[in-house]
Symmetry: C2
Subunit: 201 residues, 2 copies
DNA sequence: ACCTGAACACCGTTCAAGT
DNA sequence: ACCTGAACACCGTTCAAGT
């Protein structure tokens, strides 16, 4: 006689997400997750392979949400405006789920790594915007420059690494503004990058 | 009768550093460190307060080394050249000690955080270089933009986050080149940022 | 002074047994 | 099918006792 299911994969992921944000990655224990969904720790292994798998599922779910938000703010017709919007979506996401954000670009063990195809999808909005600004030849480099800056800024901000005073908001505005100019097709060193027609869509 | 010391704080930090790089932060256990220096785990507590304190000491030591290297590559007379040199020192350091690097800007618990004064010292070379390029009014923002980019790029590279092909070296060169131009004093958008007194130190 | 074994309260995970 | 208690091999840390 099968015992009725007392929980679900979805509930486990949701509980894991909450516990992760409350206590950080170290606080995310199988025993706590089990207690939160009303079962005993060993029963978790009926639905997930191990703790690394749970981490992966939590990150996967959040990355899908982030991708949707990124996709929804581009397409204004002004790539510079799109870039600013993307940076703010990124930053807002990180602030709303700092612990989860910290895992997005972390060195995770194999079992915790999300589907590469999902990562590729998450990159599309920024890649298209970068292509519009920088031209097709430099699109990938431009996207990497912007994402590196945004990720670096945000992770430093979350870590409390801006310790020299000053206005962090002003630094964020300064950065995105200068970067948008820097990656534009006409910003290359003379004789360097060729200016190509922007790609859209 | 006092028993003779079988190890030293220095040896413990060095062993911790090695174990950290070999097995990551999770692999850095008090039992392993104790075994490496030839004592039993409880004896570690004669020299360090707890595991968080050990992490702090390891990061502290590496940050001093990084600061020395950063200080040693600036002053060429060409701030743009200095900036490129700083970026490479940063990147080389991260590659030589990836796990330690990951802790430099991490959200660490209070006990693991290094002396703020040490952090300030580590920022001096980049702050001065940024001031030369961007002018005193934008020095702090310019430094934050460059450090954010460099940290973001390096941590993404270490995490294997550049998964869309392309040439990562080219992206690094593209980024530092465009950033140097972007933060230069004459790169501001007309009528853009207001000029505020710079905060240094 | 420094070192130790024993102990405590935690972990993730496995497994045989229950329904 | 799902759930469970018991068990195993780990942790960090404390503490009384040894030299």
């Amino acid at each position: 006689m099968p015992t009725p299911a007392r929980t679900s994969l979805d509930e486990i992921i949701a509980a894991g997400q909450t516990i992760l944000e409350e206590g950080g990655l170290d606080g995310l224990t199988m025993r706590r997750v089990a207690a939160a969904v009303g079962i005993r720790p060993p029963s978790l292994y009926k639905r997930i392979r191990d703790r690394g798998d749970l981490v992966r599922l939590i990150v996967d779910r959040s990355l899908r949400e982030l991708t949707d938000r990124l996709d929804s703010v581009v397409g204004s017709g002004d790539p510079r405006r799109d870039l600013v919007a993307l940076a703010h979506v990124f930053r807002d996401f990180a602030r709303s789920r700092p612990a989860t954000y910290g895992l997005l670009f972390a060195r995770l063990p194999e079992t915790s790594r999300v589907d590469p195809e999902l990562n590729a999808r998450a990159s599309q909005a920024i890649l298209r915007t970068a292509a519009e600004l920088a031209g097709p030849d430099d699109a990938l480099e431009a996207a990497r420059t912007v994402v590196a800056w945004a990720h670096g800024f945000i992770s430093m901000e979350l870590a409390g690494a801006f310790r020299l005073g000053g206005d962090v908001e002003r630094a964020f505005a300064f950065g995105i503004d200068r970067l948008a100019t820097a990656i534009a097709a006409d910003a290359g060193v003379p004789g360097g990058q060729a200016a190509d027609p922007a790609v859209a869509g």
